[in-house]
């Protein structure tokens, strides 16, 4: 059954401010500038906005402040803060509100003066978000970097990932940044540069950590029917999943598995897609270990092989699975909470607007936001018009079916058990059942049943 939210809403506008040092602006001014740009992009006006989805690191009444500042009187308002992933998580809330008619034009927006505040020593409103967390903050750990470092060390211990493999993450994103004129860091960067840089918190050096920027970003969503009458080619929300595993880092059950293992299947389940259907990925790279864990937990790479995946260049320009095509939080921009930017780059890729860094023929994009200390993962899957409806992704699906059919034929001819297993592995649950049925006619029943059961189990686990 198709999920009721699949393809029912769309991103119709995206807006970005300048990135970097913007000492003459407040966070609300940056948020307003980006909102204006996103609405202009969509061909909508601020007066059309009746849904407001914002989040601030420390400002308790932030949604009220933004509504007042913009002069918006929203019928749906939300300020859920699950960390930097809040803006991907907000897509779930916005989609539900839009689909159910609680609002008609949803604005998701963010502005931050993180870099200028750090330079001028302006204390963060609301203080440190990790303060007052009993059994963690009393030890005064170096946060957030320390928690990610503990995770990285455990991962390296269990899977033997090397320091240089970790460095290839930052190097990969720098290569993408070099293709993005908006990216803040575009100079050359080598594995040695990263591995030998000043140590911050073992194993992380300076280049394993994201940037601190001033920036604003905004995204506008409507229901799909309205989206088709607006200025831009709509980018449809096919699937959204949220996963929460813990707050303080010591409570993460397994340091090598993130909540992407929950958010991913939820998003893919809603979208009715599999990792192999995704053409381009944008993930929140607060620290270099993140993309490795996320790609594994979302089902793109086998557990323990994430480091090698980056080292071998698969995520880099020209690779088989482009990751963080804007340069990411490590080389493009990172204003305290980066969640907005994964979605915006995903949308730009599906519009085909990204110039030198464009992934040719991208139809499905995945955006993953990370929040807190790896605490919340929010995964959004976007698609072009070609991914909607019954004819969705006919080409790829057809070819997958063909492979299955071929395998089934072979299986029927030769050793049924082995081939069925192979075919089942390659295909989705449904397709496998079909194949098994066909083969069952010719092959011993018991063996087929066994193969089907195994496939079903695998599908469930995914």
């Amino acid at each position: 059954m198709v999920h009721p939210l699949r393809g029912q809403t769309a991103v119709v506008g995206v807006g970005l401010t300048k990135f970097g040092d913007l000492p003459g602006k407040t966070h609300l001014e940056l948020l307003a500038e980006a909102s204006y740009a996103a609405l202009d992009d969509a061909g909508l006006k601020l007066t059309d906005v009746d849904g407001l989805f914002v989040s601030s690191m420390g400002r308790v009444f932030h949604p009220l402040q933004v509504a007042e500042y913009l002069g918006v009187k929203p019928s749906a308002i939300d300020g859920t803060n699950v960390g930097g992933s809040a803006f991907v998580n907000a897509i779930q809330h916005a989609a539900m509100a839009l689909h159910n008619g609680v609002c008609n034009v949803a604005l998701i927006a963010y502005g931050s003066t993180s870099r200028s505040d750090r330079k001028s020593g302006t204390p963060r409103v609301g203080g440190n978000p990790n303060a007052g967390v009993m059994y963690q903050s009393e030890y005064k750990p170096m946060l957030p970097v320390g928690s990610y470092a503990l995770v990285a060390n455990r991962y390296m211990h269990e899977y033997g990932m090397t320091r240089d493999q970790l460095s290839s993450v930052a190097v990969t994103f720098r290569k993408w940044a070099q293709l993005n004129p908006r990216a803040e860091m575009r100079g050359p960067l080598t594995i040695e540069d990263v591995s030998r840089a000043r140590m911050i918190c073992d194993p992380f050096t300076l280049y394993d950590c994201c940037l601190v920027s001033d920036a604003g970003a905004a995204l506008v969503m409507t229901r799909a029917d309205r989206a088709r009458s607006l200025k831009q080619k709509p980018v449809y929300m096919l699937g959204i999943g949220s996963g929460t595993s813990h707050d303080q880092i010591a409570q993460l059950a397994d340091f090598t598995v993130t909540a992407c293992a929950m958010s991913g299947p939820r998003a893919f389940g809603m979208a009715g897609l599999k990792p192999k259907d995704v053409d381009v990925i944008e993930v929140y790279d607060a620290f270099s270990i993140n993309p490795i864990l996320f790609l594994e937990d979302l089902g793109f790479v086998k557990k323990g092989e994430g480091g090698a995946f980056f080292t071998e260049g698969h995520a880099a320009p020209g690779g088989k699975l482009p990751v963080n095509t804007n340069g990411g939080g490590m080389s493009c921009v990172h204003p305290g909470m980066y969640g907005m930017f994964v979605s915006i780059e995903a949308v730009e890729q599906l519009r085909g607007n990204t110039g030198a860094r464009q992934v040719e023929g991208a139809e499905v994009a995945l955006a993953n936001g990370n929040g807190g200390l790896l605490s919340n993962q929010s995964t959004a899957i976007f698609g072009t018009a070609a991914t909607l409806g019954a004819e969705a992704r006919t080409t790829k699906r057809a070819s997958a079916k063909k492979v299955v059919k071929k395998a089934a034929k072979k299986a029927a001819k030769k050793a049924p058990k082995k081939a069925v297993k192979k075919a089942a592995k390659k295909s989705a649950k449904k397709a496998a059942k079909k194949v098994a049925k066909k083969v069952a006619k010719k092959a011993p029943k018991k063996a087929v049943k066994k193969a089907v059961k195994k496939t079903a189990k695998k599908a469930k686990r995914r």
Binding site: M134, Y135, Q136, E138, Y139, K140, P141, M142, G146, A149, L150, V151, N153, R154, H157, R198, M199, I200, C201, D202, P203, Q248, I249, A250, Q251, F255
Partner: protein, 129 residues
């Protein structure tokens, strides 16, 4: 409406734990229903939801699950260890391993607990067993 009645003691788990620490005890909760240990102190078992959490003295022994060195300049106090220890009862906790150079703390190292103090608050630290 269901009332909490006598299910919960007058003092919450947090105060009971801190009172114990101030007496020099490292106590841990065990669920009477599912037998799992719980740390940090809770009101309800995080495994099964039961309110029947019973205090017992922690063994005070464990294994380093992960470790890192926070790099600080000498004038800021120098490098510091930060670690997550898996208690022999099962739960994990954030802590610092003391009386050892930060770089010498290794994953898998056996450690024992001791009670220290920071800013007037009693805290549990570990040292190499």
């Amino acid at each position: 409406m269901a009332e909490t009645g006598t299910t919960f003691a007058a003092d919450g788990a947090e105060k009971q734990f801190r009172d114990g620490l101030n007496r020099g005890e490292f106590n841990i909760q065990q669920c009477a229903s599912c037998k799992k240990h719980v740390f940090y102190p809770r009101t309800l078992c995080t495994n099964c939801g039961s309110p029947k959490l019973v205090w017992k003295r922690a063994a005070g022994t464990g294994t380093v699950y992960s470790t890192s060195t926070e790099r600080y300049k000498p004038e800021a106090g120098g490098d510091k260890n930060i670690a997550v220890v898996q208690l022999d009862e099962g739960p994990r906790m954030l802590t610092r391993i003391t009386d050892i150079a930060p770089a010498d703390v290794k994953i898998g190292m056996r450690v024992t607990a001791h009670i220290g103090e920071a800013d007037g608050i009693k805290l549990i630290y570990f040292r190499k067993a």
